[in-house]
């Protein structure tokens, strides 16, 4: 373990009955970085987080927090946690929840500072149960950062937030990273990873599919998106050489390909009536879909 690694999974395997949730995952979180953990449902993101937090134990391999067993309280005093769902006591006020969580830490952030950072200043006297879903997520975020953690786990933090709240949370996350806090972020919103992450780890079916910067990931699958109106059969196009995927959506054909020029030429030949043609460089979403799709195809072939 080198001293810039704050959390680590080493050849970790976790099974639930016949299902292998994690199949030999290696993962290292470095001091001060924002690491995004991406993957479809069932890819093993929450299992990875659960192992790093000591909530579940690996069947093989190891999970470490600051070089210690994650169940050691000394290790957990240095982390902050926001889980995907947590029904906090509805009758307690926001300020009371915050003070309670602060009491767990040796050297917590100031009460007012935490409230300001999470955008809670006007909610402190409200009972938690009376808040909207987005406000509740902000409270959970405040509880995660109130202990002045060196490592923050955020499991789908912006689910249920409106755009404005999400932007504020992003700003707060950037401020924390600037302070030197490492963040492990799992998310479905790929633009979130694009906007925030220094490193992206893509999980699929319990394995690490790719690891690197956002640009690396996008380069790995240099896809282009084609959109048009046409009567051509999507299933037939999907079988063309060079086409990664093709589907019909709201009357539009949507095609992902690595060879846009070839495919566009063939499209225009096949359907002279084709209209509203758009060709666009793929974002992380397509790159990501392509990555996970490849693995599934490989496994089906095997």
């Amino acid at each position: 373990m080198n001293e810039t690694t704050v959390a680590r999974l080493a050849a970790t395997v976790k099974r639930y009955g016949p299902l292998t949730a994690l199949d030999g995952v290696d993962l290292a979180v470095r001091r001060g970085e924002l690491l995004a953990l991406l993957g479809p449902n069932g890819a093993g993101k929450s299992t990875s987080i659960g192992l790093l937090l000591g909530l579940i134990r690996p069947d093989a391999g190891r999970a470490e927090l600051f070089g210690l067993d994650p169940q050691r309280i000394e290790a957990r005093r240095r982390i902050g946690v926001m889980l995907q769902s947590a029904n906090l006591p509805a009758t307690l006020r926001v300020g009371e929840l915050l003070r309670l969580t602060m009491s767990y830490y040796p050297n917590p952030r100031g009460f007012d500072e935490t409230a300001a950072l999470a955008g809670l200043a006007d909610l402190l006297l409200r009972p938690y149960g009376k808040l909207s879903g987005g406000q509740q997520r902000r409270v959970q975020f405040a509880l995660a950062l109130c202990g002045r953690p060196e490592l923050l786990f955020l499991d789908e933090p912006t689910v249920g937030m409106d755009i404005d709240a999400r932007q504020k949370l992003w700003a707060a996350m950037r401020a924390l990273v600037a302070e030197g806090c490492a963040v492990v972020l799992t998310t479905h919103y790929l633009e979130e990873a694009e906007a925030l992450a220094q490193r992206v780890v893509v999980l699929g079916q319990g394995r690490v599919l790719s690891e690197g910067s956002v640009d690396d990931l996008r380069k790995r699958v240099a896809l282009t998106r084609i959109r048009c109106v046409s009567d051509l059969d999507a299933a037939a196009i999907a079988a063309w050489p060079g086409v990664a995927s093709a589907m019909r959506e709201n009357g539009h054909l949507r095609i992902a390909t690595a060879q846009a020029e070839v495919v566009v030429r063939r499209l225009l030949d096949a359907d002279p009536a084709l209209g509203e043609l758009e060709v666009q460089r793929a974002g992380l979403a397509e790159a990501f879909t392509e990555l996970t799709r490849e693995t599934v195809a490989e496994q089906e072939a095997a």
């Binding site: 000394e74 957990r76 889980l83 947590a86 029904n87 006591p89 202990g147």
Partner: protein, 264 residues
């Protein structure tokens, strides 16, 4: 940069927690646990209402013809009936719901001192038990004209406040076995028959012989014997009953902790 490397290399110093702050965390947890239930009348009201109502009807109103001894007997039995419910439900239902809702998972991930969560719930249950016993004592002294020495008064209160603990352990065990809304039904299934079969509603001699012989199987029977001795109805030694209750409590607690560790 050097400073950063230093903190990483010496985790113990970075996360040392002074004993005062650890104690503070325990207190904060207990305070929150009490506050949240005091503010949830839907939770506290039934716990107080049923034993109060039972005692009013059977102990005060109908007990008039039977004399003060009946009211004294029922004071002890209904106190135990009332004390069982904050233990069973306060512990069991809230644990089952918090296991399902993810609060327990979050608390396990956070650096909450081990045991603070359970200790908080335990204090909450003891407080509720004290309120139930005091309410019945007030009705007994004020309405049913039961005469108690201060020692008897204190003994019954102490029986209630400490006697809730084995039922906390039983509630905790049920709370680890059932998730969410499955737990209350299961607890009712334990609570009501156990109360009846231990002679908390009708004196044991009024039950069939077979059920009388079965009564020592139930923890509530033993607590009732202690309560009856506390108010001066019986003069049996209480030590055997205390030991049985301690044994029940320890076994339930150990089973529950084991399940909680393994399954969360």
């Amino acid at each position: 940069m050097n400073a950063v490397a230093m903190t990483a290399a010496s985790p113990a110093s970075a996360s040392a927690m002074p004993p005062r702050r650890v104690l503070g965390a325990y207190l904060a947890e207990a305070r929150s646990e009490c506050l949240r239930y005091l503010r949830a009348p839907g939770f506290m009201l039934p716990i107080l209402l049923f034993p109060g109502l039972f005692y009013l009807v059977f102990g005060v109103l109908m007990g008039k013809s039977e004399g003060a001894d009946a009211a004294r007997y029922l004071l002890a039995s209904y106190s135990i009936f009332g004390v069982m419910s904050p233990g069973l439900f306060g512990f069991g239902v809230s644990l089952a719901i918090e296991r399902e809702g993810g609060l327990l998972t979050l608390k396990r991930a956070l650096p909450m001192p081990p045991g603070a969560y359970l200790l908080g719930k335990m204090l909450m249950a003891m407080g509720a038990a004290a309120v139930v016993v005091l309410m019945l004592l007030a009705m007994a002294l004020g309405l049913a004209h039961v005469v108690l020495t201060p020692a008897q008064f204190g003994a019954l209160l102490a029986t209630g406040v400490l006697g809730v603990l084995p039922f906390c352990a039983l509630g905790m065990l049920v709370g680890t076995l059932f998730k969410g809304q499955g737990a209350p039904g299961m607890l009712q299934l334990l609570y009501l028959p156990m109360s009846f079969l231990s002679g908390l509603w009708f004196p044991l001699p009024m039950l069939p012989k077979f059920l009388q012989q079965l009564a020592p199987v139930w923890p509530s029977y033993h607590l009732d014997r202690i309560a009856l001795a506390a108010v001066g109805i019986t003069h049996d030694p209480v030590l055997p009953h205390l030991l049985v209750l301690a044994g029940f409590g320890a076994v339930f607690f150990m089973l529950a902790v084991r399940r909680l560790r393994r399954h969360g």
